[in-house]
Symmetry: C2
Subunit: 193 residues, 2 copies
Amino acid sequence: MAITRTDVLAAAREVLRRHSLADLSMRRLATELGVSPNALYWHYPDKQTLLAALGDDILADVTAPADDLEWDERLESVARAMRASLCAVPDSAEVVSSGWSSGLSTMAVLDHLTDAARDGGLSASARRGLVTAIAQLVIGLTIEQQTRQQMERLGVTGPGDRDYDAEFADALAIVLAGARQVRAAQTVATAAS
Amino acid sequence: MAITRTDVLAAAREVLRRHSLADLSMRRLATELGVSPNALYWHYPDKQTLLAALGDDILADVTAPADDLEWDERLESVARAMRASLCAVPDSAEVVSSGWSSGLSTMAVLDHLTDAARDGGLSASARRGLVTAIAQLVIGLTIEQQTRQQMERLGVTGPGDRDYDAEFADALAIVLAGARQVRAAQTVATAAS
């Protein structure tokens, strides 16, 4: 029976859910799907391509935020949606980071952040800085949290006492304050020129 | 001949420099040092403990910033020093992230950020947010960059066109603007109360 890309990505998510990213090999995936590795390579020529597609798929629910929100509310909405999507799938933050590294990911979710920053009137370098600060806050913190969860799952360590959601909320507030501050400074500079 | 912790950490750095984090096993390290695995376990009972110590060691050069700097200049100084230390050792950002996850790292470098934020008069939640935003910007972005560098080193991909240093500088500017903005808002609130 022929498999589709959707089948492959669903099976890959299942490997992450039941096991970990370390267990996600092309061979393992072919076995889970009951097909030959060649059937898999027909869809994804190598693991990097698969991981990039999987990362995009995991973030696919992060759609453009509602038009009636203010530009900074839209930034917050996208950031929270990114984190929620990642938190739903174990080890997904590392998958997304890897896909961004390879350049094989669409990185489409970052367009929503860039669009909101542009609507806020931020300069090109401020937009790039803002998108980077939000994206790496989400990715970096969630990698750390998901690594911890794997350690706890494997019994390597007991439950920790860090509140990652609170760390995220506090950090996002700082970044958004920075975006508003940079915008206000730009507005003043424009008015004075 | 007896080995010291310093020997072990130096050998671990060498494995990262010449190979990668994926190659850093306790067995491999014992072979590199020419000792039995037991000699290694005497210093570090397991890989998690070793990675946490290695991460602390890689960031050991990030010392408290000069006293004569303003609080926000000290934040910037620590952030840049963290990134420089990580960029000097391949795969080090993932090592540090893992050490923070396990709770076995001292995370001492974050104290320098917290101290500067406290001198800036930031509230506890603002301090936590600021430290998180800076730390994850450094860690998240450097993980992505170092993963890319491994891909290029292995010939999986050609040279990329992203300027990670520029992304970092722009993002750090946003986060520091946020810190100043939150501080100014706190000052106004205190004066009005």
